[in-house]
Amino acid sequence: MSAMDLFKIFISAALVDNIILARYIGLCPYIGMSSNVANSLGMGMAVTFVMVLASIATWALWNFIFVPLGLEYLQIMVFILVIAVLVQLLEAILKKTVPNLYQAMGIYLPLITTNCAILAVTFFGVDYNYNLLQVVVYSIGVALGFTIALLLLAGIREKLRFSKVPQFYQGYPIVFISTCLLAIAFMGFKGLVK
């Protein structure tokens, strides 16, 4: 496994197959948490943290316990429970040990349990038959792509406040139209990784 392959996985996870703009996963926090740049940065950090930890935890469980025991059909239930437990643990640990970080991303943590992006990444990690290193690189890439998309939209929305939007396009409609344009821009990355 060369560094080049890892780099390819990283780039295609972050840009080419951007989890929001190309795969439509994780739209709820994307729409909900993008009203300003500070919020979206906090959410992005929290997602990155949980996504990497969750991928490692589910990858280990899957390869060392579920596949050997032939319990693949419990995948959905176990993965979602692992994420839920992880989020609870993380919240408790951060509160005690790193209060500053908890201040910055604490309020976003409970929202993450039902974030489909996290669950999807854990599924893809085992689907693609990645090894541990690849899973880590992949999940960091996806999380970065998520944060980029969130930040871009937040930037647009902050500017939109000063623009004249037709009355019935105000609110969500114009957000989706902006997303449409962002998605077109991201299509330019297709074919980047071979």
């Binding site: 959905i76 669950l119 609110g171």
Partner: protein, 199 residues
């Protein structure tokens, strides 16, 4: 009976989960390239929504408040897995087309939100009405998007050619940007009519 009907209608018009509450969007946009996919996705969501909320409502008096969320998750993921396994076994082509979005029903916010807000508080009969209403509301929106995307993207309706075969197909409708564009337009239209009614 009237109460039953009101609960049902609420999910379709008043609090349509997709267009009004902005939840459950991922699968709506992802699978709506073909109308057939939309209907099966809708059916899967209705099954999981109704099944799990029925169970949650039935056991609501025995579940201690502290662990209600984990129990909801276990119940919902059980129903999701059932749908996933059954689809893989009997409808392999569709299961391929819907891909990860079937397992992702488990984190579909509609289901968790309804379990928390409705099923864990109300009797079984009303829960069924509410779940069916929400599910049908979801299916209508996804089908409305699917019909436009399939028609303009492929020139087809349920795989039947509608436009002349020389029609090239609007690429954007099949690709992600088209989905975002359409849902934006739909919400704008809804806003428009809603506001006019209120005047």
């Amino acid at each position: 009976m009237k109460e039953f009907w009101d609960c049902f209608k609420n999910g379709i018009v008043g609090e349509n989960p997709v267009l009004r509450l902005m939840i459950g969007l991922c699968s709506v946009l992802a699978v709506s390239v073909r109308l057939e996919n939309c209907l099966f996705m809708g059916a899967a969501v209705i099954f999981v929504l109704t099944g799990s909320n029925l169970v949650i409502s039935a056991i609501r008096n025995f579940v201690p408040n502290e662990v209600r969320i984990p129990i909801f998750i276990v119940v919902i993921s059980t129903f999701t897995t059932i749908v996933d396994l059954v689809m893989k076994a009997y409808l392999p082509a569709l299961s391929e087309a819907l891909g990860v979005f079937i397992p992702l029903i488990v984190v579909n916010c509609i289901i968790m939100a309804r379990a928390e807000a409705f099923a864990s508080r109300k009797p079984v009969i009303l829960t069924i009405a509410d779940s069916l209403g929400m599910g049908v509301g979801y299916t209508l929106v996804i089908a409305a998007i699917g019909v436009v995307r399939e028609l303009f993207g492929y020139g087809q309706f349920f795989y039947h050619q509608i436009f002349p075969s020389s029609y090239q197909g609007m690429m954007i409708m099949i690709l992600p940007p088209g989905a975002f564009l359409l849902i934006g337009i739909y919400i704008a239209l809804l806003n428009h009519f809603h506001r006019r009614d209120n005047l």
